[in-house]
Amino acid sequence: MMDSPRTAVSNPPIQPMDSNLGERDLIRRSATASLPKPERQLTPVAKLIDVSKCIGCKACQSACIEWNDTHPAVGENVGVYTNPHDLSENMFTLMRFTEWVNPETDNLEWLIRKDGCMHCSDPGCLKACPAPGAIVQYSNGIVDFVHENCIGCGYCVKGCPFNIPRISKTDRRAYKCTLCSDRVAVGQGPACAKACPTQAIVFGTKEDMKKHADERIADLKSRGYANAGLYDPPGVGGTHVMYVLHHNDKPHIYADLPDQPKISAVVQSWKGVTKYAGLAVMGLAAAGSILHGILGKPNRVTDEDEEGAEKLTSNPSATDPGADGHRPEERV
């Protein structure tokens, strides 16, 4: 039995099988300090989205809705083909349409990019997540949200360099593409890849997908796309959802795909130095106080003070500050 499926197009295995993705396969777990080393290393998988082959049919969206049993609302037309208008807890993947006039050829190009979770090797969502076990990463590369552990804080949204997770308005939990971890676990590829009529979405081991991408890029170069390339951004340690782009020199033309995505420095410092320095500072403040309390004497009111008060209150004239040699207070 293979540990990871090699394709999305084959039919599911007939024999019963145990889920291939379990606690023992986790390599990262949000807000968890010591995670036991996994017993085995699963073959890394990847979904490759060939934007140059995509016809924007939205079969992936529909397969995603069906498989995950989500219910996106029937919205409105706002003058574009991108529908629903954004990712949501009911729409984990979205075709984003961009009309781009190539300045070199003056020809229109209709760029259609399937947006969704990139399954980063260094996932910003997981780094940002404060809830233990709400976000996990399997040794095959899938980054998954475990909804029963999610507290709905939205930190994953801030941690994600691709602006992917969405918080449900009803159950206040975070949702995104799971790379169909529930299918992959039992030897099937993601629903979107299975549904894609042109195999613009393919699925397999990351190694195979990179090889396949090389062939596609060679084909695109032969058709005049000199800058065709693979989008597997190193800034997030590579991704397990990759794109073949005809214009890999400018990913941003594909509906603002980040040119060089990485976890935001703000998030890095929040989840890095602030977390530790913060604990240290608070700890020091508490420790300092305790130490002071132990080493020094309490500041007690003495009998002289009581007498002084007695004297002062019974002889208000003594209140003249001038008599005490004090100057009247002035604001500074």
Partner: protein, 227 residues
């Protein structure tokens, strides 16, 4: 009347020992609402701040409730604190004496009040806590609203939220430190806590720590008849 030294309601009660009214019931209630809010916020916030403190969510009935309640408590704190603020801000305006007082850092820490200059209702340390609280709460409420996704998720860009959450956590750390200082000072300086429980302090306490305040009160005849 020097507002920064004496406030409405402050009064001396002759007796043995002498007691001095420092906070009325409304002010005390206000303080404790603020205090409880701050404690709850610190506990719930810390739970989300560091994984080792996530267990604190148990106090609130789990992570979802912790996340949901925290911002509402924040609003309570904000409102409550600023009602309090309105009452106290004049008395906390800085004075020249504060500078002198602060220059005796060693005596402050050592508890040698007799060596310190006379101060009014609040000393510079208390004023620092007051203003630090005010400033940090303001920053916390602003950044907190920005990251309160349930209602304001669509209002700002993700990058703004990232800065907000960073600032929010730094401010939270600072306010907790200020809080620790405040609580410790209250405990260390014996006789202080009753100001916020019973509302009064002893004459000796006032004489020792806020002699100018006591002097002002005495001088203005703010005394109630002996019983």
């Amino acid at each position: 009347m020097k507002a920064e030294r004496v406030q409405p309601g402050d009064a001396i009660h002759p007796g043995n020992p002498i007691t001095v009214n420092r906070y009325g019931p409304a002010a005390r209630a206000n303080h404790w609402i603020t205090a409880v809010s701050l404690i709850l916020l610190a506990l719930s916030g810390l739970a989300l701040f560091h994984p080792s403190l996530f267990f604190l969510t148990g106090l609130f009935g789990g992570g979802q409730n912790t996340r949901a309640w925290h911002p509402y408590i924040g609003v309570v704190l904000f409102v409550s604190f600023f009602i309090f603020f309105a009452q106290l801000w004049r008395a906390n305006l800085p004075t020249r004496t504060d500078v002198q007082w602060l220059s005796h850092a060693k005596d402050i820490i050592g508890g040698h009040d007799e060596k310190l200059p006379e101060v009014g209702k609040y000393n510079a340390g208390q004023k620092f806590i007051f203003w630090a609280m005010a400033g940090l709460i303001l920053l916390l409420i602003v950044t907190g609203v920005i990251i309160w996704d349930q209602y304001f998720g669509a209002a700002t860009a993700v990058q703004t939220k990232r800065y907000a959450v960073l600032i929010h956590s730094i401010c939270a750390v600072l306010i907790i430190c200020v809080f620790i200082l405040h609580v410790y000072a209250g405990i260390w300086t014996r006789g202080t806590i009753r100001a916020m429980t019973r509302g009064t302090v002893t004459g000796g306490w006032a004489y020792r720590h806020h002699r100018k305040w006591l002097r002002d009160l005495a001088g203005r005849g703010r005394q109630t008849p002996a019983e």
